[in-house]
């Protein structure tokens, strides 16, 4: 049987708010390179820099080290030339020894500087990343539920992982590479011209060609990849659909048509990919070839100049090595452009997330809810997830302290939404919801929610021990209190039968427990939290009879003395409720006790009878 996620964040049924366009970004992130353009480079850079400010002295040091090591590195080829011209051709062994030692020293110093510079960068970048991750995560905690409804989790995850990854690469590698690369390009040109002007001019012949070529291929690559990306998105979508519908495909014997459709997309993607990839692969080797061509020019021109006495053999060797080094940075610059662009686009998405404001705002002088009687009033409440599509229409009712209110009605009537509003997961558009005669919006959010106990139909468990999962209800509870709560919730028995009892680690989302057991844990959690107002979304199905009775008993115990709202599926809850609100299409169509409503022979009667087809009526 297909594993279903055990917790769904979306309100069920027709109440689900339409999922709007995610903040940005294509869905296809599974394949490597993606090429995007940031929208506001300056602003993004400025914000990025603000994260580096605390490390400005480190940065200065890094810059100094990069400059020094690049320049020293350029000294190598020059010294090679000098060794040949001054010492080898002049047969000066002593001098040759000295210059060899000098070269040795230069290379070792360069290495030490590179290590130092890289280590400084590593520490700095990792710290910045930690700060960003922390900020992002912290910020996510302040956002309202509607935000999470709108934005797929995959997209949010991707911002905290992929986008930050790209950003850390940008800071750790790309920027230093860019800086070092540009510096050595300039350095090489300067050195060449300083050593031998005419020979340098000759070497510059291929330079514009290289530049033009990098630009040309780079542009093609970006175009190609943009198209490739689109096809990859399509292919991923196709695969996702095939694999998640695999059982249906088998059940209906549609393997053939599935494959035909897949083959088409697969082949298209492959062909587009070949084109894009060829361009992307072209630059590095061709750069090497350009430098070989340059060496040919050097050999011809240089040889001729040596004959004329305008150059030396050592100069040729120096130029030779320089022109080999030339290709490297130039090639990097081509790659870097793409990487920097997509890293900046990632940074933009990260900042965009940080800029999201919570739609549920705290009142300026929020009242901290302390003692609660549990008097709940809905006063002409109107609410919609999307403007123009009302989900709750002009709803009014009152729940007196300690009473149980059952919400009954077809799927999509608005029951879950009512509960979401009461927890202030969403704010209403007009009317007011009051607890103890004070509008919900005037309370401090955290203190409000602390007084509300929510037991949802799908229980969410964290990968931690059973003990910690229950303790989630009240963090300062002692082990004894946790166990007491578990006993009250009828969960103690089964917990003790688990391999390590309360210390049993739950696997991801508690998948090693049955749904009924998970629900008992949720009840234990709520018992521990000891809320003044209880909100229950009863489970409909999938629980065996004995567990169901355990849950039932535990719930009844929990509800005692608290104002309780129950989305009711069980007849017992419905019958026992002080008031039943029959909800249909966002409105209360009937209200009263079970007996009253049956007597009315209206919507409730109909609903009730259809459930039991008259067979039960005799027993009631």
């Amino acid at each position: 049987m297909e594993q279903r996620p055990t917790f769904s964040n979306e309100p069920r049924g027709g109440e689900r708010p339409p999922v709007s366009i995610p903040l940005s970004g294509p869905g296809a992130r599974r394949f490597g390179t993606r090429i995007e353009k940031p929208r506001d480079v300056r602003n993004t850079l400025r914000r990025l820099l603000s994260y580096l400010r605390p490390y400005r002295w480190t940065l200065v040091l890094v810059i100094v080290l990069v400059v020094a090591s690049t320049l020293l590195d350029l000294l190598g080829p020059y010294l090679n030339g000098v060794a040949i011209d001054r010492f080898i051709t002049r047969r000066d062994v002593g001098g040759l020894g000295k210059i060899a030692l000098l070269m040795l020293a230069v290379y070792l110093v360069v290495w030490a500087m590179r290590v130092a510079q890289a280590r400084l960068m590593v520490a700095m970048v990792q710290k910045v990343m930690r700060t960003l991750r922390e900020q992002l995560f912290g910020h996510l905690q302040t956002l309202s539920l509607s935000f999470f409804d709108r934005n797929p989790h995959g997209d949010l995850m991707s911002r905290l992982t992929n986008d930050l990854d790209a950003l850390s690469r940008l800071l750790a590698q790309n920027v230093t590479e860019l800086f070092g690369g540009l510096l050595s390009l300039v350095g090489i040109v300067v050195m060449m011209f300083a050593i031998n002007f005419w020979l340098a001019l000759g070497s510059m012949f291929v330079f514009p060609l290289m530049l033009w070529f990098t630009g040309f291929v780079g542009k093609r690559t970006r175009q190609g990849f943009r198209e490739f990306q689109m096809y990859i998105g399509k292919l991923n979508g196709e695969l996702e659909e095939i694999f998640s519908g695999q059982r249906v495909i088998l059940a209906y014997g549609q393997e053939g048509s599935t494959l035909a459709k897949f083959d088409r997309v697969n082949a298209e993607t492959r062909d587009v990919g070949i084109r894009a990839q060829i361009y992307a692969t072209l630059i590095p080797p061709l750069m090497g070839i350009f430098s070989n061509a340059n060496i040919a020019i050097l050999a011809g021109l240089g040889g001729w100049m040596i004959l004329r006495g305008w150059a030396t053999v050592g100069t040729i060797l120096t130029f030779y090595n320089y022109s080999r080094r030339f290709a490297g940075p130039l090639r990097q610059l081509g790659d870097l452009y793409n990487q920097i662009q997509s890293a900046l686009a990632g940074a933009e998405r990260v900042f965009e997330l940080l800029d999201q404001e919570s739609e549920i705002l705290e009142a300026p002088n929020a009242i901290v809810l302390d003692q609660v009687r549990g008097d709940v009033v809905f006063d002409h409440v109107n609410f919609s997830y999307t403007p123009g599509v009302p989900v709750i229409k002009d709803m009014s009712f009152r729940a007196e302290p300690g009473k149980t209110i059952a919400l009954v009605g077809p799927t999509g009537a608005g029951k879950t939404t009512m509960i979401n509003l009461l927890s202030r997961f969403y704010d209403i558009q007009s009317g007011s919801i009051r607890i103890d005669d004070v509008d919900l919006r005037a309370y401090n959010k955290a203190s409000l929610r602390r007084k509300l106990g929510v037991v949802l139909q799908d229980t969410f468990l964290f990968s931690d021990t059973v003990m910690e999962n229950i303790r989630y209800g009240r963090l300062d509870a002692t082990d004894e209190e946790v166990i007491a709560a578990a006993k009250l919730a009828n969960a103690d028995q089964f917990i003790r039968r688990l391999p390590q009892g309360y210390q049993t680690e739950l696997s991801e989302r508690g998948s090693n427990l049955s749904q009924g057991q998970r629900q008992l844990l949720a009840i234990a959690r709520a018992v521990l939290a000891d809320p003044a107002i209880l909100i229950l979304d009863e489970a409909t199905s999938s629980v065996d009879t004995r567990t169901e009775q355990h849950i039932q008993e535990a719930l009844l115990r929990l509800m005692e003395g608290r104002t309780s709202f129950v989305i009711a599926h069980r007849l017992s809850t419905v019958r026992g409720a002080d008031t039943i609100l029959v909800i249909n299409a966002g409105e209360i169509v009937e209200r009263g006790t079970h007996a009253e409503l049956l007597a009315q022979r209206g919507f409730y009667y109909h609903l009730y009878m259809s459930q039991f087809k008259g067979q039960v009526a005799m027993q009631v």
Partner: protein
């Protein structure tokens, strides 16, 4: 590298291209290696001998070599990209094809998400390594070996410097493999931990908010975050120490050439041109080793990916098509379970179903009731052979399902699975998914019976409305009703509803039942046997037979009235759903 090598046969159709790519690669290496040698000629024979013709001719030759190299190189790129991409597309296709032959048992083990990763990023990793393999990976050793040969050929007296550097480089490689790789693994674990915290936070956002646990969550995250940072810094510090060292060793080797070569030149045993060529060959022969080190990580990642791909490709379908298929003479929809025992891990000891005997006559409605885990879904999954029995047999119209041609069997059976999966496309296409040639009238009739017609007509384009990833969002109940319509549309002899109305409200469900009865009794030309798995007792009340399952065994079979009298389990379920009031 074992797994990667086992994927190599996929390159077979493109072996001509691949071989040609390698030949061209040899050309590239050859050209690269020729250049220093030609430079040496310019210096030694041209400059020294004051011979301008040699200089000019050699320079032109070098230019020619560069041009030739560019052509050869472009050819190599085109070929290797083509081979890599095509092979990868074939591997992906083989994966998807393989999955089509697998049975539910295999799919249980290979979950959807995992399959997706294998067909996307794993195949991608292999593709990258194939393309790199045809270019860099094979080029590096050829280059190194060629450069070494040229070094020995050019200046044999300097070749020992290369040998001296070798242990140093290998030491670094070894250090990297032994020390850095375990560290990288730990980073990966820390990263996984961070992602788990994040994912749980997102998935449990309601709980976090309801219990006001933002601060606690932040602490949890901060711990994982700090761990990750510390570990990452540790690894990277090690890497940034080693990587520049490789380059430094190459540089040291060139210093060696200058010093020792210089001394030899002073003694007149070497020419300046030879020294220059030797410097270059030294760099050429050591640099590829650096390249190879950089390839270690992607190579082992690709190997792991190849392993995961092979796991799917080599999994044996648990349900095999019959060797000698048999078709029953009449198809009426009679289903018989004979002493059936079944378990998901094969072996009747720990069986999910035990000794099940059941007969469903054509046209009967059989309801299956029981606690979670009592084997309800397992029982009905045996009919279309989603799984095979471990003992006993299941007969449809007198023929063992294992002897039925698979496709024929499944087209007799319409099933609405517990989780209603729809495909992107129009509503109409989804309903006639199992029978693409169904007429519009048939589609509408099925939708009406499934109580889907009204909400379909309320959608912007009615039956042409796009649903799925890029279309309208449906509620759980709506999806289930479409899945039922889809099952009805194939006009099956055996209809299976596997708890397929759990998200449909009670009122709609009861309408659905009436309409279904109507459709099955009057509109279809043949009788249909119906199996209903349900949690709600209201769903099963009118069935011809109610099967009460308890821990994989049939506890009782009868009508509602009979069972109410004689089955304690049935009474218990019945009572629990009707409840025994709070007050």
């Amino acid at each position: 590298m074992k797994s990667l090598l086992r994927l190599l046969p996929f390159m077979k159709p493109y072996r001509r291209d691949a071989i040609l790519a390698l030949v061209l690669l040899l050309g590239v290496v050859f050209a690269d290696l020729a250049i220093p040698r030609l430079t040496q000629r310019v210096i030694d024979e041209g400059v020294k001998a004051q011979n301008m013709t040699v200089i000019l001719n050699t320079a032109l030759l070098m230019l020619g070599v560069a041009v030739l190299e560019s052509l050869v190189s472009v050819g190599n790129i085109i070929l290797s990209v083509r081979v890599g991409m095509r092979t990868a597309a074939d591997i992906r296709s083989a994966l998807v094809r393989k999955v089509q032959t697998l049975s539910f048992g295999n799919l249980d083990r290979l979950q959807t998400g995992q399959l997706l990763v294998r067909a996307t990023s794993d195949v991608n990793q292999v593709q990258m390594i194939l393309m790199m393999g045809l270019r860099i990976l094979t080029r590096a050793p050829i280059w190194a070996a060629g450069a070494l040969l040229m070094l020995i050929f050019t200046a044999p007296s300097l070749a020992w410097i290369w040998l001296a550097m070798l242990p140093l480089l290998f030491g670094i490689v070894l250090l990297f493999m032994i020390k850095a790789r375990p560290l990288f693994l730990i980073v990966q674990q820390k990263l996984d931990r961070l992602n788990t915290v994040l994912q749980e936070n997102l998935a449990g956002v309601r709980v976090v908010k309801a219990f006001v646990r933002a601060e606690y969550e932040k602490q949890r995250f901060a711990r994982a975050n700090d761990d990750l940072m510390a570990q990452t810094i540790k690894v990277l510090n090690f890497v940034v120490f080693l990587m520049p060292l490789m380059m430094t060793i190459t540089n040291l080797a060139t210093v060696g050439v200058i010093w020792f070569g210089g001394n030899l030149a002073i003694e007149g045993k070497l020419t300046v041109g030879q020294i220059m060529a030797a410097v270059n060959y030294m760099i050429f022969s050591l640099f590829p080793l650096t390249m190879l080190i950089n390839m270690i990580a992607p190579l082992s990642a690709a190997d792991a990916s190849a392993g995961r791909i092979l796991e799917v490709l080599e999994s044996e379908p648990e349900v095999q098509p019959p060797v000698e298929p048999r078709r029953p003479t009449i198809t009426a929809g009679r289903v018989i379970f004979e002493n059936v025992c079944f378990s998901y891990n094969h072996g009747c000891a720990d069986a999910v179903l035990n000794d099940v005997n059941l007969v469903a006559e054509p046209g009967e409605t059989v309801a299956i009731l029981g606690a979670t885990g009592s084997g309800k879904s397992s029982l009905i999954h045996l009919i279309p052979r989603f799984y095979d029995v471990d003992g006993g047999r299941v007969l449809v119209d007198g023929v063992d399902v294992r002897e039925w041609p698979l496709h024929d069997l499944r087209s007799q059976v319409g099933i609405a699975l517990q989780e209603a999966v729809l495909f992107s496309g129009t509503v109409r296409d989804n309903i006639r998914y199992g029978r693409p040639d169904a007429t519009d009238e048939e589609v509408i009739a099925a939708a009406k019976a499934a109580q889907a017609h009204d909400f379909i007509m309320a959608m912007p384009q009615g039956y042409d409305t796009l649903i799925g990833q890029r279309g309208v969002n449906l509620s759980g109940g709506q999806k289930q009703r479409l899945a039922i319509a889809r099952a009805l549309c194939v006009k099956p002899r055996v209809l299976i509803l596997d708890d397929s109305t759990s998200a449909v409200d009670v009122e709609t469900e009861s309408k659905l039942q009436d309409a279904l009865d109507e459709l099955l009794r009057t509109q279809l030309a043949h009788q249909t046997t119906v199996f209903v798995v349900a949690q709600r007792i209201s769903t099963v009340l009118t069935a011809d037979k109610i099967v009460v399952l308890d821990k994989g065994r049939i506890a009782d079979i009868g009508t509602h009235a009979e069972l109410l009298v004689r089955s304690p389990i049935y009474r218990e379920i019945y009572a629990s759903q009707l409840g025994n009031g709070r007050q």
